[in-house]
């Protein structure tokens, strides 16, 4: 009746996951009770859960990523403490638990922090930058978000019901095959990635279509803001690469569920094929994450330097070059598997070549700053911090791209330090820069600068205190994923790294404090202009937060830096012109399709993990029925009357006119 599920699935003998699970459960319950008692439930349901507004969905993506960042961060703290104490002892985490923690840390940080964070920012900003009213497929957008949330939920469920994979974040066979991982851990891993992978693919298709098909008047390709270009490249990579991940995991699941032999040791299975396929997805994946971050830095650096982006066209070229070359380097993840000199040399050289377009970008940002009037506000600090950090990470990457060096450093702590260097220094700093930069746009008030700067400095220093020791430990021969060790020389570095982790934690606390303080002072921090940073692209042309229809009129774009152009133009001409004629605007209706679909997907995923077959059928039928109901809907749009549009638009124009006249009198 319940498949493999029984009371032994709940780890009563392990206090750490049980207490953690209980705390989270109490937290969720408290929030739920507060929501219900205060009567916020209808608001949440109508305005957020069923929303198909790209801005709301973007915010929910970022919220999901932030919560998961805390979970993944807790895993990181536990690992650093374990390695600091586990010299010639077992530490405080038993091996099977430690293995689950590092697997969960990697899985969560990549799939449920980095991915939703960048997808959230793209969702929030790209339609605004393109000057359009929504993404190409609004309801699909909501489905994509909720399926991602399903994946995150399943991963976290494994904390209290059953176990998570002990295989590392990519679940390499034969360890992840049934004979070596008989538990449900790998199944949790694989099914949550399969379900959230569908969500990611859907988001990718949606954003590619949006950029290609929905641009406002005059917004041709070479006038798009840089962030739209990197979004396009990143989502093309999603569309091209994620099917590989889905197919590979599907083969692994066939091995585990139906006794196939794709990746087993026996019966002609080929373990090396798994490495090959998973990295054919895995390397484009890192560019999927970092390209949007590059776009964010381009926007931030040009805004806070008060200059147009240096070398816009070379930046576009570099982005598209990375998009293609990222599919030619995946073997560098397994140089040591024995493909031989020809193959290793070619892929090593390709890996070094991909550093060239990235270098072009760094120089472009530097030249954008050169001669600019730079304002060192929080988003700019994150960007400069990124440049410093990312160059270090990029150079160690070029080092690892040399096959003979890689043979020495493969799977060492040096590698761990390298990829954290590029992912934290690149993607996470980018996500934070974007968060600080676009928060006023999303919510209508700025974030507190003092806490923001504190958060930056603690994170920046904490990062180096944590990961420089790991580079050194790697040079001293320490391999990754060690539950305990006996080499005295590594010990001091592990302790320094743990101290660095504490500093990083202070950074995260500052980040939380920044949000709390800003919400409290929101009246003082209110942004009435819609343009708090003196921005250059169209998202700043509308009010903050933007109305549901984004723009009362389709903006007319005449060059790069559309809004900057508009402002310069307005200064030369009089602001007064005839009152425009407003029109009715049709907007997509909210729809619970995404939420209901994800609800059934959760049931189906859980049932698949525990082999509860009747429930699998139930969940599958439910999801299919939801789809059918959606497909047969009669009306999916509602009309905002012209009067209402006029009222909303006039308020925002009036606000701005007052500000302009105030600025004029100063």
């Amino acid at each position: 009746m319940l498949g493999k599920l029984d009371w032994s699935a709940i780890p009563f003998d392990q206090p750490i996951p049980l207490i953690a699970g209980a705390v989270v459960l109490v937290g969720i319950l408290a929030v739920l009770i507060w929501v219900v008692v205060k009567g916020h439930l209808p608001y949440l349901w109508h305005e957020w859960i069923t929303s198909v507004d790209h801005k709301r969905i973007g915010v929910m993506y970022i919220l999901l990523a932030s919560v998961m960042l805390l979970r993944g961060g807790s895993d990181a703290i536990m690992m650093r403490i374990q390695q600091a104490v586990a010299y010639q002892s077992q530490g405080y985490l038993p091996p099977e638990h430690y293995n689950q923690i590092f697997s969960a840390h990697g899985t969560i940080m990549i799939f449920f922090v980095a991915m939703p964070f960048v997808i959230g920012l793209m969702n929030l900003v790209v339609p605004l930058q393109l000057g359009v009213r929504d993404v190409a497929f609004p309801t699909l957008n909501s489905v994509g978000f909720w399926l991602t949330a399903t994946g995150a939920l399943l991963v976290n469920l494994s904390l209290v019901i059953g176990e998570f994979a002990r295989t590392g974040w990519l679940a390499f066979p034969p360890l992840s095959e049934l004979s070596y991982s008989p538990g449900v851990g790998v199944d949790y891993y694989a099914w949550s990635l399969q379900i959230s992978g569908v969500g990611t693919l859907v988001a990718g298709i949606n954003l590619v279509t949006t950029v290609l098909k929905l641009r406002t008047k005059g917004m041709n390709y070479l006038r798009m803001p840089m962030f739209c270009w990197t979004t396009l490249a990143s989502n093309l990579l999603i569309v091209a690469a994620f099917p590989i991940l889905t197919a590979t995991l599907a083969m692994l699941l066939l091995d585990r569920y139906l006794g196939f032999h794709f990746f087993t040791n026996e019966a002609g299975g080929n373990v090396m094929m798994f490495m090959n396929l998973i990295w054919a997805w895995g390397h484009p994946e890192v560019y999927i994450l970092v390209l949007p971050a590059f776009g964010i830095f381009s926007e931030v650096v040009s805004t806070f330097s008060g200059k147009a982006l240096f070398g816009y066209r070379s930046m576009v070229l570099a982005t598209m070059a990375i998009c293609i070359i990222s599919f030619m380097v995946w073997l560098h993840h397994f140089f040591t598997m024995g493909a031989g000199p020809d193959v290793n040399a070619i892929f090593g050289i390709a890996s070094m070549i991909i550093a060239i377009p990235t270098g072009v970008k760094i120089y472009n940002w530097l030249f954008t700053m050169y001669g600019g009037r730079i304002r060192f506000e929080t988003p700019m600090l994150w960007s400069i911090g990124f440049m410093v950090t990312f160059i270090v990470g990029g150079l160690t990457g070029v080092l690892l791209a040399v096959p003979p060096a890689d043979f020495m450093l493969h799977n060492s702590m040096f590698l761990v330090a390298h990829f954290h260097n590029v992912i934290i220094g690149g993607v996470l700093f980018g996500a934070f820069a974007g968060f600080e930069y676009w928060f006023p746009k999303a919510f209508g008030f700025r974030l507190d600068e003092r806490w923001g700067k504190l958060a930056f400095w603690f994170t920046f220093l904490g990062f180096f205190i944590t990961f420089v020791p790991l580079y050194i430990a790697g040079m001293l021969g320490m391999t990754r994923r060690m539950q305990h060790y006996d080499v005295a020389a590594w010990r001091p570095w592990m302790i320094v790294a743990a101290v660095g982790m504490a500093v990083l934690t202070i950074g995260v606390i500052c980040q939380i404090m920044q949000i709390v303080v800003s919400i409290r002072n929101r009246e003082a921090l209110r942004d009435r202009t819609g343009d708090p940073w003196d921005g250059r692209s169209l998202e700043w042309a509308t009010s903050s937060p933007p109305p549901v229809f984004n723009f009362a009129f389709d903006p007319d774009v005449r060059g790069e830096d559309a809004y900057w152009d508009l402002k310069a133009h307005a200064k030369r001409q009089s602001l007064e012109h005839e009152p425009p004629e407003y029109h009715d605007i049709e907007m997509p209706r909210n729809s619970p399709t995404g939420f209901v679909c994800a609800f059934f997907a959760t049931i189906m995923g859980f049932a698949l993990i525990w082999h509860i077959w009747w429930m699998v059928i139930l969940g599958g039928l439910g999801a299919w029925a939801t789809f059918v109901v959606f497909a047969w809907r009669d009306h999916d749009e509602y009309v905002i009357p012209a009067d209402e549009v006029a009222r909303i638009d006039r308020v925002s124009i009036e606000d701005r006119r007052n500000l302009v006249s105030m600025a004029g009198s100063v």
Binding site: K213, A240, M273, L331, G338, D342, V343
Partner: protein, 129 residues
């Protein structure tokens, strides 16, 4: 380059949309596509079993027929044309082909080398003898 070729964004068509043709013309297009596809399929089955042609040419002929089949599908069912409104679709197809080529070709190459260099343990033992 941008100002001369200025065309309002959003003007180009979604895949499968064709504005100027009537329903009859579109149905005719699909019928021609189906007939061609069936013809190519039938030819493949015929060629595979026949002894009317030089035997070593059969695999080559099958490959040619398969590529022709793909072409028919692209033109008649997926409406990939050379028209200016179809640039996106053609580019997307080219990108897809490039990625498939890179991944499949790279995999074949890598796995071939791995098979040659890293045989299973019992084969290595045999080589030593």
């Amino acid at each position: 380059m941008s100002d001369q070729t200025h065309m309002p964004a959003g003007h180009d068509l979604a895949p499968g949309d064709e504005e100027q043709h009537s329903v009859g013309a579109r149905i005719l297009g699909y019928v021609v596509g189906v007939v061609l596809a069936l013809l190519l399929t039938a030819t493949s089955f015929f060629i595979a079993g026949t002894d009317l042609v030089w035997q070593p040419s059969i695999p080559v002929a099958l490959i040619v027929l398969a590529i022709a089949q793909m072409g028919v599908h692209l033109v008649f069912f997926l409406h990939i044309t050379t028209g200016p409104d179809n640039t996106n679709n053609v580019l997307a197809l080219a990108f897809g082909l490039l990625v498939v080529f890179l991944v499949v070709g790279g995999t074949v190459w890598i796995m071939g080398h791995l098979n040659a260099n890293m045989p299973p343990m019992d084969q290595i033992m045999q080589m030593r003898r």
